[in-house]
Amino acid sequence: MEILDFLTKLLHGGLGNLAAYLAAHVLLCLAPAFYIAGAMTALIPKESVTRFLGRNTPKYVSYPAAALAGSVLAVCSCTIVPLFAGIYKKGAGLGPAITFLFFAPAANILALVYTGGVIGADLAFARLTLSLAFGIGIGLIMALIFSRADIAHDKATDAMFAAQSQKGMRRAALAFLLILVALLLAGTLKVGLLTDSYAQVTLPVAGANRFQEFLYQLVPYDAAKGEEGVTAQGAVLIVLLALIGIASWKGMENIHSGFNRWTWLAIGLVGLTLLTAALGVQPHANRLEVLFTGKFFGVLLALVALAWLLRRQLTEDEQRDFLWESWRFVKQIFPLLVAGVFAVGVIRVLIRPEWIQALAGGNTLAGNLAGVVFGVFMYFPTLVEVPIAKMFLSLGMHRGPLLAYLMADPELSLQSVLITATIIGRLKAWVYVFWVALFSTLAGLIYGAWIDGASLGLLALYLASAMAALAGLLWWMNRRNQAQVVAQSASSD
C-alpha cells in the first residue's frame, strides 16, 4: 500500500504542476509568444539582418547585428546551426558567430517571455542584459584568442551576405508583429489599468462551487509550494486547448495545400481561449461571477486588429507562412513542455529542500558553480529549463545561482557542444565552454549580490577588477601571438 500511496503522491505532484502551468496567466504569455515567434520567422526577411554579418562589416556593427540575429531569427535549431556555420566560415568570422550562438538560446522571444511570465520580469531582464554583454564579450575574447586561425579561415566569398537585396519589412507585416507584442503585454502586464475590473456579469449556474471543489480534490494543491490547483476557468481553458489542438491538426498540418475550414476554426478558437483566459471568474454557490477586466478589453482590441490585418493586409503567402511557423513551434515545443512540466512536478516531490538550500541557498561561488555544472550536464528540451528553474526557486535556491543555471543551461548542453565542435573544431569549442561557464558563474554572482542588496558601486568595482584581470590576460596572449607571428615571418624570410 505504501508504494501505491507514494505513486499517487508523485502523480499528484506532476498533475498539480501541470495544472499550474496551463493556468490562465501562463497561457496569456505563452500563446502570444508562440505566435510572435512564428511571425518573426515568417515575416522578417532574413536578409535585413544577415547583410550586416558579412566579412567587411566593421566590428561595432557586426557584433550587435549578430546578437540581434540571435534574438529575432533563431528560435529553433534549424536556423541556429546553419547560420552559425555561415557566419563563421563565410561571413563576419568567429567572434560574431560566437556572439550569435551564445545569444540565440538565451534571449529569443520565447525564452524571455516564458522566463518573465513564470519566474519574474526581473530575472528575464537580467537574462537579457547579461546575455547581451557577455555574448559580445565572449565573442570578442574568442576572436582575440584565435585571431590567427580566424584570419586563415576559409577564403570563400561572402556573397551570401553581401549581395542580398536590401528590402525591409512590409509595413503591414511590421504592424502585425507589433500588435502581437501589444497582445502579449495586454495579457501579462500587471498594472492597475489592465487588472482592474470594469464590468461584471452574474450567471445563474448552479453548483459552480461544487465543480470547483471537485477539481481541487482531483488535483490537490499546496499554495506553500507555489502550486495553484485547477480553477473552473482553468478547466474550461484546458478543454479549449484540446479543441485547438484537434482543429490545428486538421487545419494547419496540410496548410501548404491550401486553407480549409479547420484552419479558420483553429484561429477562432485561439482568440476565444485568449479572451476566456483574460476574464476574471469567481464561482459561488449558485451563480458564477464573470469580471470584465482591462486585460480582457486590451486582448479583445488587439485580437480585432490582428484579425483585420491577417485577413485584409497580409498576402496569402504571408498568412500561410505565419500560421505554419507558429503551429510548427507549438507542435515542436508544447508537447515536450507539457511532459517536462509534468516530470518536474514528479521530481519536485522527491527532492528535499534542504539539499538545494545547502548547495545553492546563498549567493556563494560554490552555489553558482553548482548551478552552472548542473546546466552543462543536464540536457532539457527548449523552454523546459524554465519550469525546472521555477522548481529550484520554490525549493529555496538563491536567485543568483538560479540565473547562473539559466545562463548556462541553454548554451551548454553536451549535445550542442558536440555540434559546435564539428563546425569550429574541438579546441575552440571547449575554450568556448570554459568562457561560458566562467561568465555564467560571474553573472550569477553579480545578480545575486544585487538581490542581496549590495551597492551598485561595489558591484561595479568587482566587475571592473574582473574585467581588468581578463583584459590583462588577453593582452598578454595577444602579444605572445604577435611575437610568434613576427618570429615565424622572420624565420621564413
Partner: protein
C-alpha cells in the same frame, strides 16, 4: 534526369519540403531522384543560411522556408529548360 536535394538535419520543415518536392515531381510525371542531405559539412557546401534548403540539379532554389508545390513545379520546369 532530375536530381532534387533536400538540405536539412531532419527538423519538421525539412520533412515537409521533401514531401512537397516529391509531390511536385509526381504531379509532373517526372522521374526524380530525391536525396536527403543531413550531414552539416555537406549542407554548408551550399550557400544557404538556414535549413531547409532545396537544390534542383545542384542549384539552390530556396532556403529557410517552405515553398508551395506550385513554386517547386516552376523551378523544376526552369531547370529542364536550361
Amino acid at each position: 534526369m532530375l536530381t532534387i536535394k533536400v538540405l536539412g538535419t531532419g527538423c519538421p520543415n525539412c520533412k515537409k519540403v521533401e514531401a512537397i518536392a516529391r509531390q511536385a515531381a509526381e504531379l509532373m510525371g517526372m522521374q526524380a531522384e530525391i536525396i536527403k542531405v543531413t550531414d552539416y559539412s555537406q549542407i554548408m557546401e551550399y550557400a544557404i543560411l538556414s535549413t531547409p534548403g532545396l537544390v534542383i540539379n545542384e542549384k539552390v532554389v530556396c532556403s529557410g522556408r517552405i515553398p508551395t508545390p506550385a513554386e517547386v513545379t516552376t523551378w523544376v520546369a526552369n531547370s529542364l529548360e536550361e
